[in-house]
Subunit: 515 residues, 2 copies
């Protein structure tokens, strides 16, 4: 998806200066480039301009130029010997509140050279966005919190480059996708008014900055492309996700759901995009996103219940004794309990059907998913009625949001051609199980496309795609951001979605309800 | 000539942020500006971006923006309180090899606020360009010589601003016109290859730089517009002169002659421009440009000889006793000597006619222009036959160049509609006398237009004219630079021009040759 034809790297042999052609060095280079890549304007930083007469002669007027296309001009990011073998690199950054992920890219072909992630060092100030924004109100707070992320990034860039036998001087371009607050802290722009009515950011579209100016160690003329935001609650990470999915270029209407630290939904096609988030977030977060443990060795990610024998089968990551369940395992389990009749349409455990798998303790029912003799810890792995209730609330919230956003533009969920699932959510959800629970709409399974870290994917695409700035600005400008009004209609819809799979079974023709 | 309609200063009252309009601060400002000045792109430096949320609130979203139009975008040079009374200023710089002249301009209306000039501090390295270029070959030489001019400029900017009750922080824009070498030294770009075959500069079109990056003290986001050059021998000072004259926008063909440290001639109209210089320079310089003393109190700038009585009348600057003659006085004197028959058509003093005004000493004839009893010094003011010979060579060279350049495009001198005289030359030459000598073509006197310091004038225009960059680049691209070939044809033309006014009297119908 990210290997577009581009003019990032241009190898060029210039005509030697002569009495017949005495164009200046810099203008000679510009003229040749303009001809080759069909542009009117090429910008060269003063410090690079000063080096050009020496570099051109050193390399006998045969050079490799690294370029970046901004709206109306190309920026010359650097020039090298035409025979230089080391790749000119770019780094895509998913600037997460919790985790920062870097991907090193060969700018000439989009190839991934390496990846690295690190905890956002600002966690020291506070794990959540709010605490960090408040911190900027103290003297030098903004400078300090910016320094933390820049220093962290510099260390990571250094390690990542070393691991690929490159130096930081080989990095000419960065693209950074993050939520609005993280992006502001990264640039040292105050986020103070983002959390105060009417909640406005300092900047929506910062554009292209100099790495040097941000304190980032790279090639001296490197640039940093910052993904724009739509507002305080819809950041560049989502714009990157949309760019990565390609939904903004499709004829058909598709939907993108990203549940990471926040939950966001985007609906649209090449002509329009609507997004909603914010209010829906907390309801979802408490459930889906934080459910279960992190995926890892010994974690159950797949559950199956034989409908006849009611035998429980599971798979762990690494095929070792289970020590817990991750989100996808829990959704699988709940779906299978429902399909086998052990969970009723209200989401309540059917004690008769569950037989000796269910126990009561302090007035709460617990279902034993795996008995202690099979687990790594020797303890039973259980799921409580409260856990299931929470899951049901989450799935109802998710479905309500999906239904509301599609209905707001007069579309039925069944009309969606593609359903992109991004982020942590996308990586663990199994569409089949989620459909059985009525969490996701009853679309053909092939409609579901997991995107993985779509923010990083979009940032990486931007590194090699010539028109990335136009694309991302177009996406930004197209998005209509809607707040979900928590009114009676929405509450009715939510109530109807709290049944398994839904009060209106016609919405889920493929789900065979037990009995 | 320099007060064009422009978008330099835009006063704007923004819509206050609200839940209905929660566009970010910077983007709110940009959107309002884009609407007001009809542009797609506005660039804001990161450091200014960081201040915008605070500044907008400080001034209650009512601000005055200072803008500069680059090819495809406007650059926001600064924002101020809408009620700020002090003018936002720009400084035009005529970056001379010998003298640097500054003009402080009110950017909102083009009004001149003050002027100041100082000796180019690089004179310490060498009075001529060559010595300075060689100096850049020593270690740190380029850095040092650049520092000299930047420090000199900073002091001058400081004084000039103080004298107008402004601070350097009120200066948002500079435009700098100088010859190619001076411009390179100003930017710290090596001029090393300018004086080595094939004589190519480091850059022809440096464009717009940051004042900060050059070490110039001004408003933190100020820009410096550097006039482009055509080559090592045709600099931005001449482009500025063309811009100032407006010849590049006229239907009719006109000519511009600039004799300062060098001599240059430009011919053309809105469709084409040809220029010649270089080889012609030394011949002219030895004569016209360095002739006589600097104009000042007690210097004769006007001479008249009564054709009947042969009485000499003169005028001094300040109407005091004469102490010398400046160039215009000498040209007047020579013209009057010729018209009264005291100088023959070969430019030789006619001893019979001159009577007792002429004396011989060491085989050289001297004519007493003013006798000692009338002068400030008590000494006779004389002109020698050698001085006159030198003047004749100069005038012949000048006419030859003018004739050659016009003939090269098939135009007769008499077809020229406007004849611009710029620089020192333009300020002292009297067209009537110059025509009588055959130095300038026999055009109606009203065709002659003195431009004064056209380099400074053009630089000042650029400060307030929105499309100045397009204009100067267009001029640069239009110029065809021709070398004068010193061939037999040219030598013949030169010989014919050594007569007064010319061998071919039909070229000077208005000149009444004596006798």
């Amino acid at each position: 998806m990210d290997n577009q034809k581009n003019n990032r790297i241009v190898r060029i042999t210039l005509e030697q200066p002569s009495l017949k052609n005495n164009t200046a060095d810099a203008d000679r280079l510009k003229a040749a480039l303009k001809k080759k890549i069909c542009t009117q304007n090429i910008h060269i930083d003063l410090k690079l301009l000063r080096q050009i007469p020496f570099l051109l002669r050193q390399w006998d007027y045969k050079v490799c130029c690294i370029l970046f296309k901004q709206a109306y001009q190309y920026i010359l990011l650097g020039i090298r010997d035409i025979n230089e073998q080391k790749p000119a690199a770019g780094i895509a950054v998913d600037l997460g509140t919790t985790r920062v992920v870097l991907r090193l890219i060969n700018l000439s072909n989009g190839q991934t050279l390496g990846e690295l992630s690190f905890d956002n060092p600002q966690i020291e100030i506070g794990p959540d966005i709010l605490a960090r924004i408040h911190y900027t109100d103290i003297k030098q707070g903004l400078e300090h919190i910016q320094e933390m992320i820049i220093n962290g990034l510099n260390q990571a860039v250094d390690s990542l480059c070393s691991s690929c036998s490159l130096s930081t001087g080989d990095v000419y371009l960065f693209s950074v996708a993050g939520n609005t607050a993280m992006t502001h802290l990264f640039m040292g722009i105050t986020p103070h008014w983002m959390i105060r009515e009417p909640y406005i950011p300092g900047v929506n579209n910062p554009g292209v900055l100099k790495a040097d100016e941000l304190g980032i160690k790279a090639s001296p003329f490197a640039r940093v492309l910052i993904f724009p935001n739509v507002g305080s609650y819809f950041g560049g990470d989502l714009i990157a996700g949309i760019l990565f999915s390609g939904m903004n270029q499709a004829e058909d209407v598709s939907i993108l759901v990203d549940v990471g630290t926040n939950a966001e939904v985007i609906l649209g096609n090449k002509d329009w995009l609507i997004a909603c988030a914010g209010a829906a977030g907390p309801a979802l977060e408490s459930g889906v996103a934080r459910m279960g443990m992190m995926a890892g060795p010994g974690v159950i990610d797949t559950f199956e219940i034989d409908p006849d024998t009611l035998e429980f089968k599971f798979k762990t990551i690494g095929d070792i004794k289970p020590k817990g369940m991750c989100g996808s395992g829990i959704i699988d389990l709940a779906a299978q309990l429902f399909l086998s009749g052990m969970l009723d349409i209200r989401g309540k455990l059917v004690t008769g059907k569950c037989a000796d798998r269910v126990k009561e303790k302090d007035g709460m029912l617990y279902l034993t998913a795996v008995s202690g003799d099979q687990t790594a810890t020797g303890l039973d792995l259980t799921i409580s009625q409260a856990d299931i209730d929470s899951l049901i609330r989450s799935k109802a919230a998710m479905y309500t949001i999906l239904r509301t956003i599609t209905l707001s533009v007069g579309i039925e969920l069944r009309d969606l051609k593609t359903f992109y699932v991004a982020g942590t959510f996308g990586s663990f959800i199994k569409p089949g199980s989620a459909i059985s629970l009525g969490m996701l709409p009853d679309l053909p399974l092939e409609s579901y496309k997991p995107l993985g870290n779509s923010s990083l994917g979009g940032a990486a695409m931007a590194l090699t795609k010539d028109d990335c700035i136009e694309d991302m600005e177009k996406i930004r400008d197209q998005i209509t951001y809607i707040e979900l009004n928590v009114n009676q209609e929405l509450m009715n819809r939510f109530s109807a979605a709290r049944f398994l799979p839904h009060t209106d079974l016609s919405l889920f023709p493929s789900v065979k309800v037990w009995g």
